[in-house]
Subunit: 495 residues, 2 copies
Amino acid sequence: MSKAKKQKSFRPKARKAKGFEDRHGKLLRSENALIKAASDIFDAHGFEPLSTPAFEYADALGKFLPDEERPNAGVFAIEDDDKQWLALRYDHTAPLARFVAQNYDGLAKPFRRFSAGPVWRNEKPGPGRFREFIQVDADTVGTKSPAADAEMIMLAAKVMQGVGLTSDEFTIYINDRRLLDVLLADLGVADTTEGLLQKGIVVRAIDKLDRLGERGVELLLGSGRKDDSGDYTKGAGLTTAAIAKVLAFTRSGHQDRNNTLSAIEKLLGNSELAKQSLNDLNMINDLVTAAGWDENCVFFEPSIVRGLGYYTGPVFEANINLQATDAKGRPMNFGSVGGGGRYDGLVARFKGIEVPATGFSFGVSRFAALMSSLDRLGDQDIAPVVVLALEPDQMASYFTMAEELRADNIRAEVYMGTSGMKAQMKYADKRGAPAVVIVGEDERMAGNITVKNLNLGSKISEQITDNVQWRKANAAQSTDKRSMLVNLVQKTLTP
Amino acid sequence: MSKAKKQKSFRPKARKAKGFEDRHGKLLRSENALIKAASDIFDAHGFEPLSTPAFEYADALGKFLPDEERPNAGVFAIEDDDKQWLALRYDHTAPLARFVAQNYDGLAKPFRRFSAGPVWRNEKPGPGRFREFIQVDADTVGTKSPAADAEMIMLAAKVMQGVGLTSDEFTIYINDRRLLDVLLADLGVADTTEGLLQKGIVVRAIDKLDRLGERGVELLLGSGRKDDSGDYTKGAGLTTAAIAKVLAFTRSGHQDRNNTLSAIEKLLGNSELAKQSLNDLNMINDLVTAAGWDENCVFFEPSIVRGLGYYTGPVFEANINLQATDAKGRPMNFGSVGGGGRYDGLVARFKGIEVPATGFSFGVSRFAALMSSLDRLGDQDIAPVVVLALEPDQMASYFTMAEELRADNIRAEVYMGTSGMKAQMKYADKRGAPAVVIVGEDERMAGNITVKNLNLGSKISEQITDNVQWRKANAAQSTDKRSMLVNLVQKTLTP
């Protein structure tokens, strides 16, 4: 009584929280297929599965939020009973750094792990921008060797292949943070507050090459740029010679990998840092080349700027080179589906000693949505065969039929409601069931079963009012002995 | 520079948040195997995967927290920018009710879905009690048919079998909330505030039958009970006749299913509610019996009390009947690994119309930990073969070797660090690698490879200081032509 009263006095509105999404059907199956493909590949390479908690202490997460440009970017944080602040992880890397630091002595090093699961960003939601999304990461902690970076690059390429992309349908871009640092130092950008501001403008300008073209970037590197809406973006104020050098740098990518490295060496080769970087990139190139990855799908691209502030060496990005449209037929901007790089300072935050590391992270939610929109993933979303429940006292026999189908690897279910045949057929239609099994009193008395192919006869069901009319109207069904159930369904499902 | 300074001024302690756990290795593999087994079974039965967000609006989640006894039980809640309260889900059922209410017209009904993922409880953590754990659920929404309850019971049993338990190693208990209500009404427990308090004491007493035995429960139903520590628990104050009836009720379970139902009918059969309940339980019994589930692993148990306040009809519980010890050799209390039941009122909170539903939920974290402790799950935790990296300029050839092993479905990795042979052998030992592939300069010049079986020769590595001594000391290794790599590793791995 008191419960019923409570329900009357307050009825909440059924709405999902703003910026979050329910995932199901083909999209969720795409995500799961992607996670499985990536996990299997990482596992085969000896990476260990690791699942850290959703919450970390806020001080352990640190301020390594991506996209430093957006000051609103934040975390979901809660003050615990003991006055310590807990925050939901915004990626899998910061919790990994905490895990490694906490368990350092017990771990076999290099420590290689993979993680898959949701991460949360307390941001203003927008179209296609959610506050919860899935990432799957692989990381190698405890080695400076560029072989570990090369492995990350090849793992990323293998995952792209693993979900069915051919080598001309994806690209892994490689760059190195140190090259940018050398370039900027060469241009006289100092490590002062003002210099860092200028550096930021240059880096963001390079990042926009894809969108604005060379002329737009040139303006941003120089005096500034007014966009189509009239908004003005302040420029970096570089000299004409400096601008030419930046553009030459960005132009050196997207070609034979050896040629790119030679061009970069000519541009920046004098400093110690440039030499270190080029040494590492050459070793990466050797390993990637020896493993047979061609120049079209893995190449050096100096215009690639990964947002995260913690990268210290090689950086990577995975892109899909395909066109697609969303559910409403609008073209979808594909671009990057993952990225990574070397971050030698992250564990040092805790340990005080440098623990070099490198990793790669796929944005599963985005990647899977793109693949799903292309019908390239999630195709295992096949609706079950529905066994109609026409006689309430015959449920046990319907259960047996569904079980026989499952034993033959056919997805099957018994209609679980209490409605009549027409509603049951509508249910099967709405589910997209490929076939229904019909055993009414007549069939049962005769020891028969009827299987109707809904792929053939769909929509007919709407005109049906009784069992007899049904049978007359519809050629897409066949009847056989009860013992032939599995056989008949198999025949119906085979195109 | 500025970064290094910042790190000096503040170094956070690397510690995981209180009440949360890092999962990895065998335990995490157990969880994943369990989720996969359950998901595959639900999927084969036509249930659709659904993933709702971690956050719901707090008013949508409602106050259906389990374990009503503990007033401290709570959720993790955050106030959003727009002043609405978000809360992390504490189970998968409350979000399902919101999802169904929000998408009601578009769903084919009965709507059957499964979900797997973490849930959060903002509770005081204790031994084995975490604030984040994984649940996997299946639910059928939109039917009153007891066939849907029977399906849940059999799905639960199939999942138990699916993870490798035999029918004498697990039990699915069935009870019905309505029977308890009838019993208590018969005993004169009124629906007043005082009566509900008394009802609570009776229900909790029945729930403790397993732990306290009949004598203990008798005391709790009567005047009260003092436990071994001297703490006194107030009793329900029932009369001797009433106590006898409650005990007769609890005694009617755990036997031939038909006998239990007859005994209950004799005890409670006069009221309309008892008849409805027994009708449903008889139909469940018929379906479970027809499907061949024997009396030992699926039976009616009137002493089963599931905690959740929202159950309205049949309730279920899955138990493991095995002994195990934890990592420290202490006996583990197995008990329940999952439960469920019918909840016809949950969607009505939003819709105002009754949407009957039934479901089952496995506590994956607990279930998997038990199975893992028995070495019954997670046995796919096999460490990779390690290809040693002995000559820095030969990394490409080590990568090729590991790739050849993987192509033959052998988990393999190249040592990614920069240390010498001794450290590499220690690494392989620490990882638990079954074998290492050794190609130093000698082998390479001779076109050979050496494979060492670490399962045989483990620990020897610690005494080794150079390559020559190694080869002498150790019989558990063999050398062959480079082309025989996969063959030789296969031979080494085969017991």
